[in-house]
């Protein structure tokens, strides 16, 4: 089936199998592998994207459901060589190890800080509880969120 959608501000079209997820569309057809395939069952958050401004697990959205809608992925956050403030905070706080969860967390934190510019510790923990990280124990990720919030 053919679908058409906006990804990171650009009009994109694809011809794909009807059972394809939005995640597979992004990664395989549109060559945007920044959104990650860690569990593909909506538990780990590593495939997080913004669909019409709403944070979703792209593995749980059918590609066909995104037809006519706007998607922002982790690749759409930086402006050229300049990192998004949340991305820069992750680098500066040492919040990245293997980095597989990082794109999803960056998208989730970006979404959080738009909704809640100065979140409490509990708000941060709850907002990020849908994003699994196996390397960091989250400590430096919390540091990154605080740093990004302070710099806003």
């Amino acid at each position: 089936m053919r679908i058409s959608l906006t990804v990171n501000g650009e009009r994109r079209e694809a011809d794909l199998w009807g059972g394809e997820s939005l995640l597979a569309l992004l990664r395989d057809a549109l060559e945007l592998p920044g959104s990650k395939n860690a569990c593909e069952q909506g538990e780990c958050g590593s495939c997080s994207v913004l669909l019409d401004g709403e944070l979703v697990c792209s593995c749980l959205v059918l590609a066909a459901q995104a037809d006519g809608h706007a998607v922002v992925t982790v690749e759409g956050l930086a402006s050229g060589d300049e990192l998004h403030p949340v991305q820069q905070a992750f680098v500066d706080a040492g919040a990245v190890q293997c980095g597989f969860c990082t794109p999803g967390l960056v998208v989730a934190v970006t979404d959080l800080l738009v909704r809640v510019p100065d979140p409490s510790d509990d708000e941060v923990r709850e907002a990020l509880s849908g994003n699994l990280c196996r390397c960091t124990g989250y400590a430096k990720i919390f540091d990154a969120v605080r740093l990004a919030a302070e710099r806003r």
Binding site: N37, Q41, E43, D92, C98, G137, Y138, I141
Partner: protein, 702 residues
Amino acid sequence: MTVTATRTTLRVGKVGERLLRDDAGPKVKGAFAFSSDLSAPGMLWGDTLRSPHAHARIVSVDISQALALPGVHAVLTHADVPGRKTYGLEFPDQPVLAVDRVRYVGEPVAVVAADHPEQARRALAAIRVEYEPLELVVDMERALEQEPLHPDRPTMGHGYRDDPRPNVVRHIVIRHGDPDTAGEVVVRGDYEVGSQDQAFLGPESGLAIPDGEGGVDIHVATQWIHVDRDQVAPCLALEPERVRIHLAGVGGAFGGREDLSMQIHGALLALHTGRPVKMSYDREESFTGHVHRHPARIWCEHRATRDGRITCVRMRILLDGGAYASSSTAVASNAASFALGPYRVDNALIEATAVYTNNPPCGAMRGFGAVQTCFAAEAQMDRLAAELGIDPVELRLLNALEPGDSLPTGQVIAGSLPTREVIRRAAALPVPVEEPLPRDPLRLPGGAGNTTNGEGVRRGVGFALGFKNICYSEGFDDSCAARVVLREDGTAVVHVASAEVGQGVIGVILQVARTELGTEEVTLAPAETASVGSAGSSSASRMTWMAAGAVRDACRAAVEERERRGDGEVDLERVYRHPRTTPLDPETGQITGERAHVALAVAAMRVVVEVDVELGLSRVVWVGTAQDVGRAVNPLAVEGQIEGGTAQGLGLALMEELVTRDGAILNASFTDYLIPTALDMPPVDVDLVEAPEPDAPYGAKG
């Protein structure tokens, strides 16, 4: 995206400085190429048919219907493996594709390649396999009396203790002093530890590309590219040089990528079809596609004097190794060597047995045998403290193992082991004050699931030590090669085949090169088997030590060579080796040389936990830990390792267990296998104890 070798140029500080990762930039942008992100023109998708039976004879396999499906380019079985039919990290006892028998649920039986992943999945469903179920061996105690799963006993003849019981992978007995020594006080305990999954987020994945001349390039997430090559090549009936392994981006490892996953399968499909083949496991397949932490049963008896000195310990340890050997022999050795914890014990009898079963294969996971026995040994120390009426921290200080003391294997501790310092520093970390009630349910045991007002919440403080070896042991004396190219313009390129798995070894390599060469203009080349010798594995708490040694030696040699020659490019390779170790005596478990372990490390942890005694829910409020790191090459990265390791330990203690029934994993998903989330992790206060290891480059342990 196509496969391109990414060269990393880092401008980082020197050894001991707090450094940010250079690969963090591409990783936060989603631009870092993990193994599951790779693609190539004309690429096919590979997939694996796995056994639904834990133990069965294969009566027949019919691939004809699968081959006839649209988009399917290959369906391969064991008959298509051109070389050796089996492989293994230490013993080649595992079939590349099952031949006439399957020994665990998830064992690969056939592989397919198709244009689209969905076509590959449909092809798997069209393969007809007839199985005849066999008697299951799924209880680690009963396994020692049942029919052997490997009648040829693959681990026999390797210098281990002779044990005629069926299904023994390795049996170790360590006799130390007089194990019949009595004590005025005796405490006994039986302990059970469940199996843990590494649960790295990046699934097993890779891309195999045929070179058109019969050889193959394999881009894969792994922990040791050279040992992968040495396992893959014989199965493909190829010379090692014709199999080139390239390290692709690794989404976490924790031991789970020491054994092969898709490497041989992808290469078989690529060579058969003449096209690049990508394989990427989904989460359920990942749970069956790698080895796990051994579940264990441990029986202990600790004897002590009335004033708290341990006189004798007797421990029996049983480890379920699952269907294939993997690294079970070494896990059993570590479990036995560190069974007592970091305590001075003059008399002991320790028995450790790893067995084959039809459960999922077990092998390396963070801590590697020392974790299971840590749980038992530390619980015993608390029981002993309670029995004696001594403060648990004081009891640990009283019995602390220090340099000059002996391990139960007879090895005298010659290097650094600041056990008392670590205990004192952890005990001194301030515990947070108790938060009064009422509180936001998020901060009650069970979080938002707690339905009370916290009336049943009780608070406790725990204290425990951890104890482990550094580097490989028992005569498995590996090495690490580093190649340094000094260009005429003053810049340098460093080649090391070490696997960056998230731990930050790329930073360590460049810190050392900058320190030794005195220039910031250092580039790290991609890790690949063709350009430099083996680095050994990113495991066993060894890669920082080994890579630092190799890069240091190669840099110093390169500087000397440049001074000698005056001009021109210098390109040389040096191989670093750690102090030699020797095997344990198979009968007594005692050392046969100066040491069986290269070096040791100790950690202490102080933990505040709240338990709702009415609901049975718990919440870890705070963790304080002091850890002996030798010397922190990059303190930021060391903290990250400790915080992440603490999360995995918390998961094992409170949340994680692979549950099996008749050999099948019942919770092979992140819905059912729970790992700690941002809501589960408490603050972790980390105190780095630096007592440099005399044998280690820059004193670094790890």
